[in-house]
């Protein structure tokens, strides 16, 4: 009991206030993240409306099967993350550790596939610093790939950070830091991870699925 009381920082009146503040703070942080990605997405919108055909053409250079696979992997990792938070709430320590590991594995699979895609683009000469593609309208194709690498790179950086945070959560779980009264860090990690997944849910159609019908 004394251990739980010690988790209440001195400036909060009670644990409910502390929990509310932490989750509310995380939501506000996610709003800043939306604006952060928003600046890049705005860039995407401007160039896609300026060069619709070029973007559709360039989009076909992306591997739709790998993109779909990765989308499924990420949605799966959101499920395992949700299960991790659920296990934390029920104080099922082993399940929590297991789901955290599973989420980290799925996140790593995503990053692995992504780096394979990146390497492929490098060899095809579709990488902004290593651009030797000479198809039609190559200049504007390059613009598509600049935006593609900026967006997916930023997203991948967020995933790497997320996996790092999950490693910390795993360590805290194994050290018995959480119980059913206090698992706020797991909850916040979950919010973050779902946000990162959601970003991909937007990036996948915006980048891979331009004019793919018919």
């Amino acid at each position: 009991m004394s251990e739980i009381a010690s988790r209440l920082q001195h400036h909060f009146a009670d644990e409910e206030q502390q929990y509310d503040a932490a989750t509310f703070g995380m939501w506000v942080f996610l709003v800043t993240e939306i604006m952060f990605f928003g600046g890049l997405l705005m860039t995407y919108v401007v160039y896609r409306t300026t060069f619709p055909q070029v973007f559709a053409e360039a989009s076909h250079h992306l591997n739709i099967y790998l993109g779909t696979f990765n989308t499924i992997v990420l949605i799966g990792s959101s499920l395992t993350m949700a299960m991790a938070v659920h296990s934390a709430r029920l104080n099922h320590r082993n399940a929590l550790a297991g789901y955290l590991v599973l989420t980290m594995i799925l996140g790593s699979v995503f990053l692995g596939v992504k780096s394979y895609e990146y390497a492929h683009k490098w060899h095809e000469g579709l990488f902004p610093g290593n651009f030797f593609y000479d198809g039609p309208d190559a200049v504007h194709q390059r613009l598509f790939f600049s935006v593609y690498f900026a967006l997916t790179g930023l997203h991948a950086a967020h995933m790497i950070i997320g996996i790092g945070i999950m490693a910390v959560m795993l360590r805290m779980t194994l050290k018995n830091s959480f119980d059913e009264n206090w698992y706020t860090p797991v909850e916040l990690t979950g919010l973050y991870w779902h946000f990162v997944d959601l970003v991909w849910i937007f990036l996948f159609p915006l980048l891979y699925l331009i004019e793919r019908h018919g």
Binding site: F12, F24, M35, F36, G39, L40, L143, A150
Partner: protein, 547 residues
């Protein structure tokens, strides 16, 4: 009573080690850390301003080369905007006062608060080192494609400095929003909050929504320069004007990050020295929020000379006029607060008067610039320079000085010397006007900004301006001297030297480490000034209320 209070530890003397300062999570100590850092930045930026004004004394470019001059005004702009003005009031006075004013023991996330200071220090250091060693000549606006493709100076490091510093601003805003939502004392409803809190709430919204956009924008500049993304490079099919849109999407609201907290300070100072309840509380609170919201939709008025669509320009122009309405609401309400009040002229009040006069000029000339036709005439002239200095220096820094003097007794426990403070306030006011008013005339007559030589007919304006800048610089050095002097020799302030309302005045000066021994219960309205004025035993009110 006096001696027993003396023995109680306060936040300044509770611990003495260097580590107790550098690792503190106390919002009051972090406010002091910020105060010291931004004061240093202010004088670095001020030094550059001095260099610029000295160069402009004569029409010929005789003191420095064009390249050096470009670097001087860029450093001045970057330091003053990103490393001084943005954190100025929120990170010092706001950090110190937000928890005190709402009856909380600290901000919601004390460690995040400390982190924000370290992030600020890292960002500012990178920015300063980069600009001092290599120098940056793009102007603080970093316009593309010059910054991405052509500038031979060091763009990447200062941009990274700005990127990093942005996160300290985001963390501060996030902390304030959560604190104001979740940490208010029992009974302290939204409409009992001091207007300083409303102003900081509105500021925090802008910080949280706008700052990430400048972060991603300068990141794109860095990537563009480093990896040739070509996003803003017309040769690669990119659109340099897109940068301007993204840049001003932050940098216009950033003006409200500077001016909204300033307005919050004024809303505290004026009722106190008029001994009168603030007039139109609800309207002032709402106007802070509407300035924050409307401020997000006016950025296009910085792009009237670009190929922005005519209809977009018209919309931006109308919305820019609209943002003047809530600003005017505040100004009228401050004037109405003073009407029939018992006005006294202590230094904070003189600064507040200075604020109102200068903000009025700055605001009204803003309407000139929001007008499509006139803006084409004065775009990129000294008229613009004068306008935004009236807002950012005449407005934000005057209010910062007002607040610093007003809460100095609370922060340090010592009174500043009133005579020198009044003199400094007047000197700054006179020096400011002499510096910047001639720039309106020079700009209107067509003198462009950012050149280190100019046709001789502009010399009279520049001589006046440089003379004013010398007075202004002297004026800013005075508070540095007498405020430091007061730390040792100032008279003991006591809990409430001004007879002010507000929870921060109901505790000792300097406050104890955890602010409130017992959480206060608020059952009174804000700015209850006639009552406080009549009540001789006003210091007894808090004890009675908190029981």
């Amino acid at each position: 009573m006096q001696t027993s209070e003396r023995k109680k530890p306060n936040y300044l003397n509770a611990e003495h080690t260097v580590a107790s300062w550098l690792l503190t999570v106390d919002h009051k100590r972090i406010a002091i850390l910020y105060l010291v850092s931004i004061t240093l930045m202010f004088f670095i930026g001020g030094l550059m301003a001095g260099a610029i004004r000295t160069e402009l004394l004569t029409p010929a470019g005789d003191l420095m080369s064009s390249d050096t001059y470009d670097k001087a005004f860029t450093l001045h702009g970057i330091v003053m905007v990103f490393f001084f003005l943005i954190p100025s009031i929120p990170a010092t006075l706001g950090n110190f006062l937000v928890p005190l004013m709402i009856g909380a023991k600290d901000l919601a996330f004390p460690r995040l608060n400390l982190l924000s200071w370290y992030v600020y220090i890292v960002g500012a250091t990178i920015g300063i080192v980069a600009t001092v060693t290599g120098g940056l000549d793009t102007g603080w606006t970093l316009y593309t494609p010059y910054s991405t493709a052509y500038a031979t100076t060091n763009v990447v490091l200062p941009a990274i400095g700005i990127f990093i510093t942005g996160f300290s601003s985001i963390l501060t805003g996030l902390n304030f929003i959560v604190t104001i939502h979740k940490m208010r004392a029992p009974g302290l409803t939204w409409f009992r909050l001091p207007l300083f809190i409303w102003a900081h709430y509105a500021t925090s919204i802008v910080m949280v929504l706008a700052t990430p956009v400048i972060a991603i924008t300068v990141l794109m500049v860095v990537l563009d320069r480093g990896f040739g993304l070509g996003i803003f490079d017309p040769k690669a099919g990119g659109d340099p004007v897109l940068f301007q849109h993204l840049f001003w999407f932050y940098s216009h609201p950033a003006v409200y990050i500077m001016i909204l907290p300033a307005m919050g300070v004024i809303s505290e100072v004026i009722p106190c020295f008029s001994k009168k309840r603030i007039f139109g509380y609800n309207f002032i609170a709402a106007s802070s929020l509407s300035i924050a919201v409307i401020g997000f939709f006016v950025w296009g008025h910085h792009l009237f000379t670009t190929p922005q669509s005519m209809y977009a320009a018209m919309a931006f122009s109308i919305i820019s006029f609209a943002v003047a309405v809530p600003s005017a609401v505040k100004t009228f309400n401050w004037a109405a607060t003073m009407y029939k009040g018992s006005i006294t002229f202590e230094a904070p009040m003189i600064y507040a008067f200075g604020f109102m006069g200068l903000f009025l000029v700055g605001g009204l000339t803003g309407l000139f610039l929001g007008a499509l036709g006139l803006d084409l005439h004065v775009h990129d002239t000294y008229f613009v320079v004068a306008h935004f200095h009236y807002i950012m220096v005449g407005g934000a820094i005057m209010a910062y000085m007002a607040g610093l003097h007003f809460w100095w007794p609370k922060i340090t426990g010592k009174m500043y010397p009133e005579g020198p403070a009044k003199a400094a306030a007047l000197i700054i006011f006179v020096g400011f006007n002499l510096t910047f008013f001639p720039q309106f005339l020079a700009g209107y007559a067509g003198m462009p900004r950012r050149y280190h030589y100019y046709p001789p007919e502009f010399q009279i304006f520049n001589v006046l301006s440089t003379a004013g800048a010398s007075i202004l610089g002297f004026g800013y050095l005075l508070p540095l001297c007498y405020l430091l002097w007061s730390l040792r020799h100032g008279r003991e302030a006591g809990p409430n030297p001004w007879g002010a309302t507000g929870l921060e005045w109901m505790i000792d000066s300097p406050p104890p480490p955890h602010n409130f021994d017992t959480t206060p219960v608020v059952n009174w309205e804000p700015y209850d000034y006639p009552a406080a004025h009549r009540d001789a035993a006003k210091d007894a009110v808090p004890e009675a209320a908190s029981v």
